[in-house]
């Protein structure tokens, strides 16, 4: 059976709303318009305007309202039309949501989900293409999830909604329409994935490639090409950026002795940098080659198609980096 990521998200929302009357959805165009990207299709009809709320284009205001409602014990799901607009409300995500449980010594928990498409889409330019994974995942008090497949999307969104803490849920517009095979177990309404656990999407023994969201697909494609050239790549789908599954990553690197990190966002202080550092901290002696980092180019996103293409990682970048990691078996050679 196949399911698109859009259907996966929609059904996860639907099921959690039907299971728990405290769950409600708010955001721009989520109701009558059925969602800017149609993720909330049919929900207004099913749950009514009390539980599916169209908001004005005022992110700070409605996000703060969502967080306040979570203080009271409701379970809001706040949709950002894209995460770029979450910057208008970021103070509420960081200061009002992430820190309240700690500051109140556990009195004020904040069961809220902030979700929407994150990162680059196609041709939308510099202001609409940023990846916020590294920013949010730097902040204690938040949990940050990033699904790749439909199974991820269903399992992680359901986990996020049920979780008692604020969760930043990073989707990807370009994945919404993609279809993935889905297991019977995963379509069950009780299905749920654990927060904080990565998934080995493909086992391998020569090099570990970490990725999240759309980049997992590229990594899998790269793995196929590499396989043809005799390199067996292990692909880790991070799923959770915070908590980061250091154990799975390190175990894999201790096996393959080589690491390529892959992400779409800006490189500096990115997810790749953290993963590299975690591996250096825990598995330094196991590394047979320098860690290779593939990331978005260190420039604002350009509009022109040719420039845009060179601003985000391509399959050939991953293949090249993996090969570099593999051919340089002796650490000393790396710095020659």
């Amino acid at each position: 059976k196949e399911m698109t990521v859009r259907e996966a998200l929609n059904s996860a929302l639907d099921e959690e709303m039907s299971a728990d009357p405290k769950v409600f959805l708010m955001g721009e165009e989520v109701g009558e318009y059925q969602g800017a990207y149609k993720i909330s299709k049919g929900l207004l009809e099913k749950y009514g305007p009390e539980r599916v709320l169209d908001t004005p284009i005022t992110e700070a205001g409605f996000t703060g309202i969502g967080v306040g409602a979570a203080y009271y014990g409701l379970r809001p799901v706040v949709e950002f039309m894209t995460f770029n607009f979450s910057m208008q409300a970021i103070d509420h995500i960081i200061n009002s949501a992430a820190k309240s449980n700690y500051m109140s010594a556990g009195q004020i928990s904040v069961p809220i989900v902030f979700r929407g498409p994150n990162g680059a889409a196609a041709g939308v330019g510099a202001q609409h293409s940023q990846c916020y994974a590294a920013w949010y995942a730097s902040c204690p008090g938040l949990k940050v999830l990033a699904p790749y497949s439909s199974e991820d999307a269903r399992g992680l969104l359901k986990a996020a909604i049920r979780d008692p803490d604020p969760v930043v849920f990073l989707e990807n517009e370009l994945l919404y329409g993609e279809s993935f095979p889905i297991s019977a177990e995963a379509v069950d309404s009780s299905f749920c994935l654990p927060i904080g656990k990565a998934k080995i999407e493909r086992e391998g023994k020569d090099v570990t490639i970490t990725a999240f969201s759309k980049m997992v697909g590229l990594a899998l494609k790269a793995a196929e090409i590499l396989a043809k050239e005799g390199i067996s790549a292990e692909i880790i789908n991070l799923r959770s950026i915070r908590p980061l599954d250091r154990a799975t990553i390190n175990a894999s690197v201790r096996k393959t002795n080589r690491l390529v990190t892959l992400e779409e966002g800006f490189p500096q202080h990115g997810v790749g940098a953290e993963i590299c550092t975690s591996v250096i901290e825990e598995s330094f002696g196991y590394l047979d080659a320098p860690v290779e980092r593939i990331a978005g180019a260190d420039v604002p996103m350009p509009y022109a198609a040719n420039l845009e293409r060179s601003a985000v990682p391509q399959v050939e970048d991953i293949v090249r980096a993996a090969k570099r990691a593999c051919y340089r078996a002796v650490p000393m050679a790396a710095t020659a």
């Binding site: 205001g61 309202i65 306040g68 009271y72 449980n101």
Partner: protein, 356 residues
């Protein structure tokens, strides 16, 4: 009793100036405000003795807002405020020990010493903090009101913010949404006429805060008169349950500087401060009423103040006995559910913990 000055109303019919009360209420207003006053003065001393650190914003002068509001509502109604939160916490049923222990960063504090002066909470009686970011509590308070309406609880939320905060854009965003959804949200602007060192008219083109809701109704209230506050809050609660948001502008005054680092005398004259103390002090107003109505003698009131002082001193002594938080508390409450994930101290190879 009569309120001292009439209410000014915007897009609504204000309440009557005559307020009902009882001797008990009068006495309890006096006692509660005297306790608050004494508590804040004591916090001032503790700060100077370096037992309280960081920011510390005192409420003395504004006590009538806290007690008047509380008198009009129940603990099922919610209150949320900014960093000037000690007295609101007390009014909602918090204890002096919790206050002082929190201020000194001790285990017995209302946030176990982890929050500090600006982050008091008492969720079990509807007090949702204690927020350090100017204006942020306004959407949060509207969110509480949203949840009340969503849950079909027939209660309201009072969101307190300053004259400085009144210019924040998120207030206008939250108010618009609250009006569209007809939330039982009462926005209480505590206009103490200064946001830090900035006089209201230097920060706001229109400092008529009760009118700043434009399409939303508002009421200007003498915030130094606990009865005016009570009357206005009662009115507002009824209004909000029926019609949605309303703004109450409380005309009040802070005697202290903005926080302990501000002497509070560079941007206003000493005459201004002492003028307010003499003519509008909220405690003195009640004292006069009590004496005028012969409900207690001057001596009885003085004794009450002594009692209050003793209570405060005892609480401080107790708070000093309370130990620092256990070092392991560094890693508690980061999450409600930490999944046992490993978290790190400054030196991660030395200090790590499984999050509860």
């Amino acid at each position: 009793v009569e309120t001292s000055v009439p209410f000014s109303a915007h897009k609504c019919e204000g309440p009557s100036r005559s307020v009902e009360t009882t001797p008990q209420e009068l006495i309890s207003f006096f006692r509660d405000m005297a306790l608050m006053r004494r508590m804040e003065i004591a916090a001032d001393s503790l700060y100077k003795a370096k037992l309280i650190r960081g920011f510390c914003h005192l409420y003395d002068g504004q006590e009538a807002v806290a007690v008047g509001m509380e008198a009009a509502i129940t603990k099922k109604d919610c209150i949320i405020t900014a960093y000037r939160d000690h007295c609101i916490f007390l009014e909602r049923g918090g204890t002096l020990l919790e206050v002082f222990a929190e201020l000194m960063g001790r285990r017995a504090g209302c946030s176990k010493g982890k929050g500090g002066s600006m982050h008091f909470y008492k969720k079990d009686s509807g007090f949702y903090g204690g927020h350090g970011i100017v204006g942020a509590q306004v959407p949060l308070g509207c969110g509480l009101a949203f949840a009340q309406k969503y849950s079909k609880d027939e209660n309201v939320t009072f969101t307190l913010y300053g004259d400085g905060a009144a210019n924040q854009g998120q207030l206008f965003e939250a108010l618009n949404i609250s009006c569209l959804l007809e939330l039982p949200a009462i926005l209480v602007c505590e206009n103490n006429h200064y946001g830090m060192g900035t006089a209201e008219w230097r920060a706001a083109k229109s400092p008529a805060y009760y009118k700043r809701g434009d399409y939303a109704p508002g009421l200007k209230v003498d915030g130094m008169d606990a009865f005016a506050v009570k009357q206005a809050c009662k009115f507002a609660k009824e209004h909000a349950l029926k019609n949605g948001p309303i703004i109450l502008e409380m005309d009040t005054y802070r005697y202290h500087g903005h926080s302990m680092s501000d002497p509070g005398s560079t941007y206003r004259t000493r005459d201004e401060i002492s003028g307010v103390r003499q003519e509008r002090d909220p405690i003195e107003r009640i004292r006069k009423l009590i004496l005028g109505l012969d409900l207690a003698t001057e001596k009885e009131l003085k004794d009450m103040e002594k009692e209050v002082r003793k209570e405060v001193d005892e609480a401080i002594a107790q708070a000093k006995e309370s130990p620092n938080p256990d070092p392991s508390e560094l890693f508690t409450n980061v999450y409600a559910k930490g999944y046992g994930v490993e978290a790190f101290g400054a030196d991660r190879k030395e200090v790590r913990a499984a999050l509860p």
